[in-house]
């Protein structure tokens, strides 16, 4: 069971959180202007990263806030947590 640091509440057990998949997927401004392929890319295609992965978590049994986590999908080590709208530490995205 992961130990996750909620940016607002601090370290808690994983069972308080819900997983939300890959982070930084921005909903297109004008979906109606996209081709089927472009829309499908937003809707379905994910990086499936092996290594450090930016992902969303929700502290559902706590403050109910969503935030971002950088987690290594091999070792499960959590590299960083940061709030929505913030860039991942160490640049990127």
């Amino acid at each position: 069971m992961l130990k996750i640091e909620c940016p607002w509440c601090g370290e808690r057990d994983q069972e308080e959180f819900q997983y939300g998949g890959e982070a930084h997927i921005v909903r297109p401004e004008r979906p109606d202007t996209l081709t089927d392929e472009q829309w499908a890319d937003y809707l379905f295609n994910r990086a499936n990263t092996k290594g450090v992965h930016a992902e969303q978590w929700c502290h559902g049994a706590g403050c109910r806030r969503w935030f971002n986590v950088l987690r290594d999908t091999v070792s499960y080590v959590i590299v960083a947590v940061y709030r929505p709208g913030e860039n991942p530490p160490g640049g990127g995205e």
Binding site: L2, P31, W39, S75, Y76, G85
Partner: protein
Amino acid sequence: MSTARRLQRGGLIDRSRRIRFSFNGKDYFGHPGDTLASALLAQGVRIFGRSFKYHRPRGIVGAGAEEPNALVQVGEGGFSTPNLKATQVELYEGLTARTVNGWPNLAFDIGAINNRLSRLLPAGFYYKTFMWPRSAWMRYERHIRRAAGLGHAPSLPDPDHYDKRHAHFDVFIAGGGPTGLTAALGAARAGARVLLVDEQTQLGGSLLFSPVLIGGRTGIEWIAELEAELRSFPEVTILSRSTVTGYYDHNFLVVNQRRTDHVGPGQAEPRLTRERLWRVRAKQVVIATGAIERPLVFDANDTPGVMLGSAVSTYIRRYAVSPGRSGAVFTNNDSGYQSALDMASAGMEVRAIVDVRKRPGADVLAAVSTYDIPIYQGYAVPSVQSGLQGLKRIEIAKLSPCGEDIVSHKGLVDCQVLAISGGWSPAVHLHSQSGGRPRYDALKACFVPGRPVQAERSAGACAGSFTLTACLREGADAGISAAAQSGWPGGYVDIPAVEESVQAPLQPFWEVPAGALSGNGVKKFLDFQNDTTASDIRLAAREGYRSIEHVKRYTALGFGTDQGKLGNINGLAILAKTLGKSPGEVGTTTFRPNYTPVTFGTVAGRTLGEQLFDPVRKTAIHAWHVRRGASFENVGQWKRPWFYPRDGEDMHAAVNRECLATRNGVGVLDASTLGKIDIRGPDAARFLNLLYTNNWDNLQPGRCRYGFMLGEDGMVMDDGVTTCLAPGHFLMTTTTGGAAAVLTWMERWLQTEWPDLKVYLTSVTDQWSVMSVAGPCARTVLQRVGCDLDLGGDAFPFMSMQVGQVAGIPARISRISFSGELAFEISVEANQGLALWETIMVAGRDYDITPYGTESMHVLRAEKGYVIVGQDTDGSVTPMDLGMDWIVSKKKDFIGKRSLSRSDTERPNRKQLVGLKTQDPSRVLPEGAQLVNSRQEAQPVPMIGHVSSSYFSANLGRSIALALVKGGLSRMGGTIYAHLMDGSVVPATICEPVFFDPENQRGKS
């Protein structure tokens, strides 16, 4: 039974006290300190069970968690526990135990016929033979499972309590042997908060049966000294009779503490729970789980009397039991010689030491030289012979120089016990569970821990260090460094001097070649519990299996309750040899939690029953429904009245009556369970526009609107009526089951995608009691109840909401209807709900007001063709598929809109919602029935759709159904066929899904 096998002196048992117990219905006794296994061995019991597949008689092999054979069901009634290992069961007065495997009894066993047919039962036999055709498996399964045994789940409620404890420690130490003890001392002296977990009754591990002196003291004395010091630290916790069952991510470890099993049912302090599950976060972990001795693989190596050398020593030294009158040793390493010494010192006649090595260690040779024991160097035991009481004699044969072949038959030696040692397997289970990958050490011929992935280190025998000196040193180092890395430097341990022999290297030896007595159908067993043999592994390789994970599943190697603690290593080495690889290239199977089985009671802990397992939600009116004799339906966690049967009514009769009463008079439904979300803020309408498919800009205060919510994939996710209470203030209703998910969905969009929107969400589901008064007499009844509003159709139109008083109670009243009837939905504060409901029931008495449940609600809405999300939709249905294009705005964007114009969502032949009328109006189709185009078609028959809702409508006097049918909207009037499970074919006519009052005159009236 005699106690002939109990030694007069020595051991860690209390001979002054007797404990009576029964085994398979016979009475025995033992002493405090005994296990069930040691007490039975002391009284001459040799056969403990029958094997899983061939039902061969089996005896004790080990002395701890690795024991594969002696599985017992302990205790009676609700206390009973199946599949305990007799080697781990402590005796208590009155204990009853039964063999789990061996129906109908140990002596005569029907399954033993499998033994004679064994050539017909190779690996994969059950898959190959019984799994197809399926009907055959169903016929055999019961008998096979019964013959296979493995205990019975107790059928009575468990009278005991179990609990869980959450804890945090600086240093977590798994294993209380010599390594774990010095680790604990090093960490404790540094000041760290330490948890030391040990599986056994008392600390000490291998020292409990070792003759080695530590700093001039016996092992027992040294343990006592160390334990006393450890207990003097307030920050040190010691758990005995506790197993580290799992090592999970981020140094989360689970410990199963057995608190009262050793005193028996009803004997413990009442405040004690029977078992406790510790859920521990540790900053640093020291794994000191020791090593498990490895059997040697030869013909009939499963014969009762063939035991691990360490087990023989344990029974002699710790339990003061000599397992037989005469013995022999078969080994490939020095540790077998200790078993010979222990047997000799116990007065057993040791008739041979058979060592596959040409050069045993000089120290051990010197040690056994004081006894007159024939030593065969460069020899093996290719087979053994048994009598009724197990092992009778062993065959000794000379090996070729490389050990691959038998050169000559040496002869037979009579003995009752054969102590075997194929070397030691480090218990790398926890390291592997933590994410580490064990690597093969060719020199030591074993898997040792690889690079740590988490904050853990292995020390001592579980790291491949097999001398006591190394264990003490590595333990101390590990404990000191673990403490330092968790913030507590300065630990220290003085390692005492140990006098132990210098070890000569072992000679890897995975399988003994066939001898003079072999070849008559007997087998070389790898996994005793599953009867997996060396030839099964070779067969799997011949049939194309390469990965050890696949071979494991095909042959069942390591699948038993012992999880292959003994045999897996031999199996993978034989596979490696067959494939021409090294054991390191084949690798181990994954070690998964749990290390040993955990009872369901422990897993459940306190979270039992309605209150704590899965909380039950009841509406404020629940007590009334119960008094009225309602049958309830579970909807999520809610209990909803399903129907209200009157005397003698079945469900069908009750639902027909409720539906007729609502259409012809007045009915009332408790609708409190629908999800309710209060939405406020200047951007609330903008947000609703994004969530719902239709337009919300123009909804005025006091007006209600029905909406569909889609996933971004365009599929219907939830629906409900949302009311504008005031500018920038809405009340959304959701489906009963979808409430929490919808709130989470809305929060997510607001927080992650549109944080600029000023919208605030509050769940108010539980704050309101909601009742729907529906039917032609609804208005009259509500007027009789007393309402300060003009309820007339002009003053209070359909799809509007007003705030007023009902029976003097402040209420929100909405004219919305899911039944299609004139209906008023009244919401009051939850604590007023029951009072208002009762008032309405009294006021409606003259109109025969009828409470109706969810079943009638479903029938009434189906008559109107209203869908239920999750019943008539399944996550693959768009609003267009439901024929509800009118609810989808063309102008604005909303979640899921773009997906509605994808090529797949626009294609013509999608499944679409239609009504079905069976041609025999009395025939009600089962929900889920598959629909096809004709009575008889060539297989495979194309599936055209399925029935999603189906009822008998009392109002229409016929059956009605909703169905999702390919291209259904263009097939009105056509015929379709439902193929049912009983083989019958029911024709039905496709029709519009609205069966009743299509103009909705009644709802608007």
